[in-house]
Symmetry: none
Subunit: 402 residues, 2 copies
């Protein structure tokens, strides 16, 4: 028995304790030069520092050392799902990212508008980075495509990107990308690697035939390619594996989608951190576990804007008093990965993590930052174990064995 | 090859070095408030501190982060057996706990005396917490039950608790609990989930029929329920996997039982720590590996008595000079889990660990305590790897690969 959830199912203990998981997306950072401070260490974070003094710190490894995760595996790890076991296809993530409510009968596909010449050969894999308003109208046309025996949904994402969902019985998700990853050739033919996926491939081929007809006069977006064709993996529900009723408070659709994927209730988060805190307060009595997602520590890191990430980290800090006022039994502050402004991207660095609870083995931390986390009581741990720490500190786990 | 023992079998190197594993049960603790010291840090432990200065420290995770183990998995981990792989049933542990020498032909069952009404429905699942002297006499009556083809043993444990062992050929251990976990209903019928376990279930049903007859006039203990029906798991012997001849010096039967489970010799430990040290001295030339168990750091923690745990930790310390005088090549001091007085229970916190040997990478530790262990050379490691450290520091492992 080595599956974490076999263990948590067995050891669940009912309790009225409450857990808050407050995620600063891409929280971990880098100093700009040797001897410098990271974004988190530069930020003035009095509330997080006070929390560090009455909690414990550690470093979370999102997937494996050095591996930079996307948002999907980053969050699955925090939710206690081994991101190497639950591999979420790109099509599924793209659908989650636009709040499309996928079912287990769906195959999701990431589509890219492209330009093809008279011979059908691709001349531009991104259709000249077509504007969103034009692409959205093309998606509406494609959404009218019908194929007997299945439902077809086409949704625009952004610029040349779209999502196609095929809903029906017995569809497999193991179909190759049709994007050849280069120009001068035609899109590849979709092929399934098992019987159910062959059925999907045939439907996608029919979709492509009709799409070519629909788009024939819409150059530069006169065709599309397909990537990340996938079904949702069977994933056990959060409440079933942990015995906690969970609500997600996320402003961005991708994170609502990831929370929905593990069976959390999606609460009305509004659009600002203030709204999110109001949502938390309103729903406090209804849930045992709250996932709160703050996006801007990541987006400023992606922009390479160290100072802006510092500011956004201070904003992250500013909400702590409202969370504290609710007296959660366990409050965790962490990130799904690091996004150092210096790198302008997600990185494989470990992620600073703070856990505050009454039964912490207080580790003498004075502030919340990478240097303090490195020598904290939680040590360096794989993110998938964070939920075990959360449940243990909330008194929600029985002893293993007698 | 991920099994630890496949590796140790292959890499065993003969040596005349000696290893002592000195276990303070439930050694890890918690400060009562932020900034405070744990029990171990509060205790005056001059000998352990001196040992820390000529050794290395670390933090052991008994099972997985946050998981509080019982004594069984806690010790199996220290002995190098993955506690998630070797799952010891409660019946087996209960038999080990009264020094019952189980064989691989045995099915062990934890029994609870209960009270049933005229319709056979349970009115008290613990028979009014019947006194030990009365229950012991009832067990003697039940021990006379005979069933053709098998041997039946009934032994009293404490108050309403007893152990039933069925010994015979071809008995399976996969039988449901008959304890319905509530009153107002009759005990459940034992059923086996495979052919061998169906044989066991039939024997247990016959046992129950006879027990009802034997106990009919013994209200409130006029029946019993069964839990944790199990066989010993096949578990490789300590000497075979490590190449060390091991002796166990434990005062309490449970720990002798766990040592016996992995094939250690059980030495005459007497009843006090002084007796245990005398036993160690007398047997020093006969074994390569000694497991010494000290119970009272756990029991005082379970009592929630911080000061008493401090005192018992000082007692643990007091035996170090006698161990040192024997010049073990490797001396390890650790716990099977944490039992913070603050929690009055086993906890999932990591466990302070000290290893002293000539080839330690001395880490500058000044004293043995949780704060020092947090930044020690051994880092944070799963308990199942402790034996690798022990063997390596004893020069008992060959290089892996050329």
């Amino acid at each position: 028995m080595t599956d974490i959830h076999d263990l948590t199912r067995r050891l669940q203990r009912q309790s009225d304790s409450k857990i808050v998981l407050y995620v600063g997306d891409g929280l971990g950072g880098l100093p700009l030069k040797p001897g410098g401070k990271t974004e988190l260490e530069t930020a003035r974070t009095p509330h997080l520092d006070a929390l560090a003094q009455r909690g414990v710190l550690g470093m979370s490894i999102p997937v494996l050392p050095g591996i930079a995760p996307g948002s999907g595996p980053g969050h699955l790890g925090l939710f206690g799902y081994d991101p190497l076991k639950y591999d979420i296809g790109r099509g599924v993530l793209e659908a989650l990212g636009i709040d499309f409510a996928l079912t287990d009968r769906d195959v999701a596909v990431r589509g890219n508008f492209c330009t093809v010449d008279a011979e059908g050969k691709i001349t531009d894999r991104r259709a000249g980075r077509i504007a969103s308003d034009i692409a959205a109208k093309l998606c509406e046309k494609l959404d009218k495509i019908t194929i007997p025996g299945v439902e077809v949904f086409v949704r625009h994402v952004k610029e040349y990107r779209l999502v196609i969902v095929i809903r029906g019985e017995g569809l497999g998700g193991h179909v190759n990308d049709t994007d050849p990853q280069r120009t001068g050739v035609t899109p590849l033919v979709p092929q399934g690697s098992d019987a159910a996926s062959q059925k999907t491939a045939a439907i996608l081929a029919e979709f492509m035939r009709q799409a070519a007809e629909v788009l024939k006069n819409d150059a530069p977006a006169n065709l599309l390619t397909m990537r990340g064709i996938a079904k949702m993996p069977p994933i056990p529900r959060f409440e079933e594996v942990y015995g906690t009723k969970a609500g997600a408070i996320a402003v961005y659709p991708m994170y609502r989608g990831l929370a929905r994927l593990v069976g959390m209730d999606i609460l009305d988060a509004g659009t600002t951190l203030e709204d999110q805190m109001a949502c938390l307060e309103q729903n406090w009595s209804k849930y045992d576990f709250f996932f709160i997602h703050f996006k801007y520590t990541d987006s400023t890191g992606e922009d390479g804007n160290f100072d802006a990430k510092v500011k956004r980290t201070e904003e992250l800090d500013s909400a702590i008093p409202r969370i504290n006022a609710l007296k959660p039994d366990v409050l965790i502050v962490t990130g799904d990965h690091s996004t150092p402004a210096k790198m302008k991207s997600h990185s494989g660095h470990a992620v600073p993590t703070l856990l505050a609870a009454d039964i912490c083995r207080f580790d003498g931390s004075r502030e919340f930052g990478e240097s303090a986390c490195r020598v904290g009581e939680l040590g360096m741990f794989e993110a998938k174990y964070l939920m075990l720490h959360a449940l243990a500190h909330a008194g929600r786990l029985e002893k293993y064995g007698a």
